[in-house]
């Protein structure tokens, strides 16, 4: 009663904490079903070939995706990763025909925009272009999941195990190497990109 100041301080701290919690929770827990995804939207016309015709699409660079911190997006990314058979080449992140995704080697960059671009454009030596097939918000979700596989998403939003046989022991149970500074060991010159 006599001590007004500490009370005010505590109230302020609580309010600030609650606000921070609110923002964090809202971002993490929101389920966005219909959205205009940030960045480039694949054009309306269906491409009849796997190859990318014509000029380059506008890039998705400098667009904050907001998907990395969203647990629903990560979960959707996980589902789509299997539905669109990404596992066929990347084998649940372990790599096979395509490069592994759970290590910290990023050939074309680890930023969400880089991964988005890789999926949309395709890459030499087998990665097909998915632009025009997969809606862009789903590509962002897959990109977020790929970043999760690489250990780049905040732990608080990460998915836990799936209801299948375990590919690797408990995805969240054991500490995984979290690269602080993603290496970009090899980046082909722009001219080589198809």
């Amino acid at each position: 009663m006599t001590r007004q100041r500490p009370h005010a301080g505590i109230t302020l701290a609580l309010a600030a904490g609650a606000l921070a919690l609110t923002l964090a929770a809202c971002q993490r827990e929101e389920r966005r079903f219909r959205e205009a995804a940030p960045g480039a939207t694949p054009s309306g016309s269906v491409r009849l070939s796997v190859l990318q015709p014509g000029e380059r699409r506008p890039t998705a660079r400098h667009v904050a995706s907001g998907y990395d911190e969203n647990s629903y997006a990560l979960q959707e990314g996980q589902r789509l990763f299997n539905w669109y058979n990404c596992s066929g080449c990347h084998a649940n992140g372990g790599g096979g025909m395509g490069p592994p995704l759970i290590d910290d080697e990023w050939i074309y960059g680890s930023a969400p925009e880089n991964i988005y671009e890789t999926i949309v454009e395709g890459r030499p030596n087998g990665m097909p272009s998915w632009g025009g097939k997969i809606p862009s918000y789903q590509i962002w979700q897959i990109a977020a999941y790929v970043r999760y596989l690489g250990g780049l998403t905040p732990a608080i939003a990460n998915p836990s195990r799936s209801d299948h046989m375990m590919y690797q022991p408990g995805s969240t149970a054991l500490p995984r190497p979290v690269p602080t500074e993603p290496k970009q060991s090899f980046r082909p010159p722009a001219g080589e990109m198809p």
Partner: protein, 229 residues
């Protein structure tokens, strides 16, 4: 909530009537028929109210362990063999050592309890101090059991989860008993110990018995049964 002045009756009634259903404004006057001043204020076992609380939590925790064990058996039915193919059965050396040590602690605890009943503070103090060391040893052994003897991690398969569930649940009992015994030992070394704490010390021994006897079937279930099934 202090003693209130007599409240005015609001319903027009005869105060202090005793007929059924008649409102009464003030508490009825009293007549003393019994004096309880000569009952003891330190008692043990079923006569002690704190013992009943301990019993309550023993029932809760005992039932919890029982349900864990039932879940363990239930999950076991999903496997062709237990442990499942590819998982090593648990090693029995450390767990057996642990059980032997637990059983060996019982005479000491009984001695402590008897000393408490005889209001023998120094002996209770000694008993509790040794019990604290024993409980610490139990914690160490349990840690080895979980990390090494089980030979399985909680996220390997449902067998591993079930093993950790049962052994881990009982581990919390050991941890709680350690905190209680250590706290009580400290109290008995301090100058603030009172007579009633002897009854509490006896209750702790009661909980210790529960901890040990509760573990025996679980030890058989988790560490021996996988070798037999």
């Amino acid at each position: 909530m202090t003693g209130r002045p007599t409240l005015r009756p609001t319903v027009q009634v005869l105060a202090h009537t005793v007929s059924n259903g008649m409102p009464q404004a003030a508490p009825r006057p009293t007549r003393a028929v019994l004096d309880v001043g000569d009952t003891p204020d330190v008692v043990f076992g079923v006569r002690d109210i704190m013992w009943w609380g301990t019993l309550g939590f023993v029932v809760i925790e005992g039932f919890t362990l029982a349900v864990c064990a039932v879940s363990y058996v239930y999950l076991g039915q999903n496997f062709p063999s237990w442990p499942p193919p590819g998982t090593r059965p648990p090693s029995v050396l450390v767990p057996t050592l642990h059980v032997v040590l637990m059983l060996a602690s019982l005479p000491l605890m009984r001695w402590t309890s008897k000393a408490a009943h005889r209001f023998d503070v120094p002996k209770v103090r000694t008993g509790l101090t040794i019990a604290t060391l024993l409980a610490a040893a139990f914690i160490a052994l349990r840690t080895i059991e979980l990390l090494d003897s089980l030979n399985v991690k909680w996220d390997t398969n449902a067998y591993g989860s079930a093993q950790w569930l049962v052994v881990g649940s009982h581990a919390t009992l050991i941890a709680i008993e350690f905190v209680e015994v250590a706290g009580m030992a400290l109290l008995f070394w301090s100058s603030r110990v009172q007579l009633k704490h002897l009854a509490d010390a006896a209750d702790i021994v009661f909980y210790w018995y529960f901890m040990v006897f509760g573990w025996l079937p679980l030890y058989v279930l988790c560490f021996l049964a996988p070798h037999w099934v």
